[in-house]
């Protein structure tokens, strides 16, 4: 398996990021993902790293075409993210980032559910720190909500794994046919679906990602959801429920992106939307649709990271990414604008960009499978994508009304990272075979047909017209939009208020009563028991001791060592025995 398990490489990277300083640390931060990327290129399909533990057969390295394509883009993304964060002084951010990548790579290579679960939890815990490390009260709260939701998802997954182990005695991680799916399979599916942000268990994503650090957001947008797409593609291809929920996801995310005001929250909702294409493709389950899902995951990681980097640069340089507080930045941050627009046209599927060659595969997969309604839903979501990320996002940050916000283009390392991602967004669009050769299933697909081109330019052009007509109504408002997290955040805050209003005061009252009454009573009773101990207990104990001592003394006096006295005692005892015997 190449040089070593790539997850191990990133764990070493995390240690180096924690202990090294200065240039050596920067070299390590770039070298580790670069070596991992080359290492993936050297991997050959096969089964590696098998071990036996407590009677379980564990496989830490299941390498095939499906895992290779994900490993390829994950390590490339880790390299881009590491370069983007090179200027960050907080050493714990890259440490958390690398452990998070290690978790993701470990899941991708896991051949059994136990190994998968361990890396799955490593991902959840290490990524939570990418939110905590923003060090704002809002981030702390969002981070804990994120961690709680993922712990819940992890428990459901674990329940599914245990149940499956009990039923089959087998922990191997592989496809489960839809006809053979039972409760265990569906519990595992729910655990995976939570990480893929499938509604209604998606709200953790738009809640937490916008609260992460600038560098953390770039890492998080790539790994959690796409690792979930990978495990769904491996385990649950062809599940109807995924096809339907995936199509709903695409529209759900887009709808919220249209009304959102926070730039990174718009992008977070677009993760829900874009991952919807992948979940739908996996759910349809034909070779074209599954290949489309995988291709879209690859393309999506790069353009979504580019978007998060562009808007993250705005946040880094201005302190905000709320559209209502920005505007007119094109003169001050032109390069960040160029990068974001390239990400925006790629996600919208412009010809010659990566979105054109990947999204269309999923849509064509839906069409070819005769799923016309799903196909139209996915196409409508593409319209909403261009409207909200392709036009609205750059328009209100870089154009629109000049906000007068002071800004300049970000540091060179951030621009280099954006440049690499932008290059891949165009490169994949121009040379799709680079990606198509890596896809897991053998299938013929040609994106550049006259009709597909015509369809795309119409969709994009007339979405532009729609925005032009609606531009006054599209102005983002500084508001919060309710999502299903309301269902747990409101009861939780009610519970907190109840705690503050009743439980906590009651607890304090009891404490006060104890201090005033109980404490004195305790002191008084302690004094009483002390006296009782000194007089009564000690008296009894001392008395007992005295009598033992006196008896001992008496016995001692009889031990004279004189033979005449012993004979006299012996004769006296003999007479006593005889007297008793005669009297009966």
């Amino acid at each position: 398996m190449g040089i070593m398990h790539p997850a191990l490489l990133f764990v070493i990277g995390a240690v180096l990021a924690a202990v090294l300083n200065g240039t050596a640390r920067k070299v390590a931060l770039v070298a580790i993902p670069a070596v991992a990327f080359v290492n993936v290129g050297l991997m050959e399909p096969g089964t590696y790293g098998e071990l036996s533990y407590l009677g379980f057969h564990l496989v830490t390295g299941q390498v095939d075409k499906l895992s290779l394509v994900f490993l390829h883009v994950f390590t490339l993304m880790a390299l881009i993210g590491a370069i983007y964060g090179l200027h960050v002084a907080d050493r714990w951010q890259p440490v958390s980032g690398f452990l998070y990548v290690a978790g993701s790579l470990g899941v991708t290579l896991a051949g059994d559910y136990l190994t998968l679960f361990i890396f799955w939890e490593l991902m959840a815990f290490s990524s939570a720190f990418l939110i905590f490390l923003r060090r704002r009260p809002e981030s702390l709260r969002a981070g804990f909500r994120y961690l709680l939701m993922h712990t819940l998802g992890g428990l459901v997954l674990m329940a599914g794994i245990f149940l499956r182990w009990q039923q089959t005695g087998d922990l191997a991680f592989g496809p489960i046919a839809p006809e053979a799916a039972n409760l265990a399979a569906y519990l595992i599916l729910i655990g995976f679906a939570l990480n893929a942000a499938v509604p209604p268990i998606h709200a953790w994503l738009p809640d937490a990602y916008p609260e992460s650090t600038v560098m953390g957001g770039v890492f998080m947008c790539a790994f959690t959801t796409k690792t979930a797409v990978y495990v769904l593609a491996r385990g649950f291809a062809g599940y109807e429920v995924l096809a339907i929920l995936g199509a709903i996801m695409t529209l759900y995310g887009v709808a919220y992106a249209i009304i959102e005001n926070d730039g990174r929250r718009i992008l977070a909702y677009h993760i829900v939307s874009q991952v919807g294409y992948m979940v739908c493709g996996v759910g349809i389950g034909t070779a074209l649709a599954v290949n489309g899902a995988v291709a879209h995951a690859y393309a999506h990681i790069l353009y979504k990271a580019l978007l998060f980097m562009g808007v993250g640069a705005v946040l880094e340089m201005t302190g905000t990414c709320k559209l209502s507080e920005l505007g007119g930045l094109y003169k001050r941050m032109p390069l960040a604008l160029v990068a974001t627009v390239i990400g925006g046209i790629a996600i919208s599927g412009f010809p010659l960009t990566s979105g054109f060659i990947s999204k269309s595969m999923v849509i064509a997969g839906a069409g070819e499978a005769g799923r016309t309604v799903l196909m139209l839903m996915l196409t409508l979501a593409a319209v909403g994508t261009f409207l909200s990320v392709g036009i609205k996002l750059p328009y209100y940050i870089w154009f629109g009304k000049d906000s007068g916000v002071e800004a300049k283009d970000p540091p060179a390392n951030m621009l280099v990272a954006m440049g690499i991602a932008a290059f891949f967004c165009i490169f994949l669009g121009v040379y799709p075979d680079y990606l198509y050769k890596m896809l897991p299933l053998p299938v013929e697909y040609h994106p550049y047909t006259a009709y597909h081109f015509s369809e795309t330019i119409q969709l994009l052009g007339f979405t532009g017209l729609g925005f032009y007509l609606l531009r006054k109504k599209m102005t983002p408002k500084p508001k919060l939009n309710l999502d299903v997290d309301w269902l747990y955040r409101t009861p939780a805050s009610t519970l907190m208020r109840w705690d503050k209003g009743w439980v906590s005061p009651a607890n304090e009252w009891v404490g006060e009563v104890y201090r005033r009454v109980g404490y004195r009573f305790a002191l008084a009773s302690a004094a009483f028991w002390s006296r009782f101990d000194a007089n009564a207990i000690d008296g009894v104990v001392d008395g007992l001791a005295t009598s033992v001592r006196d008896t001992g003394d008496l016995v001692r006096r009889t031990q004279t060592g004189r033979i005449q006295q012993y004979i006299a005692f012996g004769v006296a005892a003999l007479f006593a025995v005889l007297a008793v015997a005669v009297s009966f």
Partner: protein, 92 residues
């Protein structure tokens, strides 16, 4: 500012100074897109829209306007809250 960002800003400034040219190019392009669709070769579409000339133009315009109006309306009537909605609740 080095050459590349300066060139980007200059190009954008030039476009912003000529809004009528931009509009003419944009609407001209839309007409060309529909014309291109009329003549584009199509092969065995999966669905009726694939056979109607200019279908996707109409789909995009209606979808874009309809979706934006619908979700803006839902947000206005139901989803919108003040920015500190949860903070006030959570801080009690």
């Amino acid at each position: 500012m080095s050459a590349l960002p300066r060139a980007v800003v200059a190009a954008l400034d030039a476009m912003r100074e000529r809004p009528h040219v931009l509009r003419a190019v944009f609407f001209g392009a839309l007409v060309l897109f529909v014309l291109f669709d009329v003549f584009a070769p199509r092969h065995g579409g999966h669905f009726i829209g694939d056979r109607i000339r200019g279908f996707w133009a109409l789909f995009a315009l209606a979808g874009c306007v309809g979706m934006a109006k619908l979700i803006k309306g839902v947000a206005h009537l139901w989803l919108e809250r003040p920015v500190d909605f949860y903070d006030r609740k959570e801080e009690g």
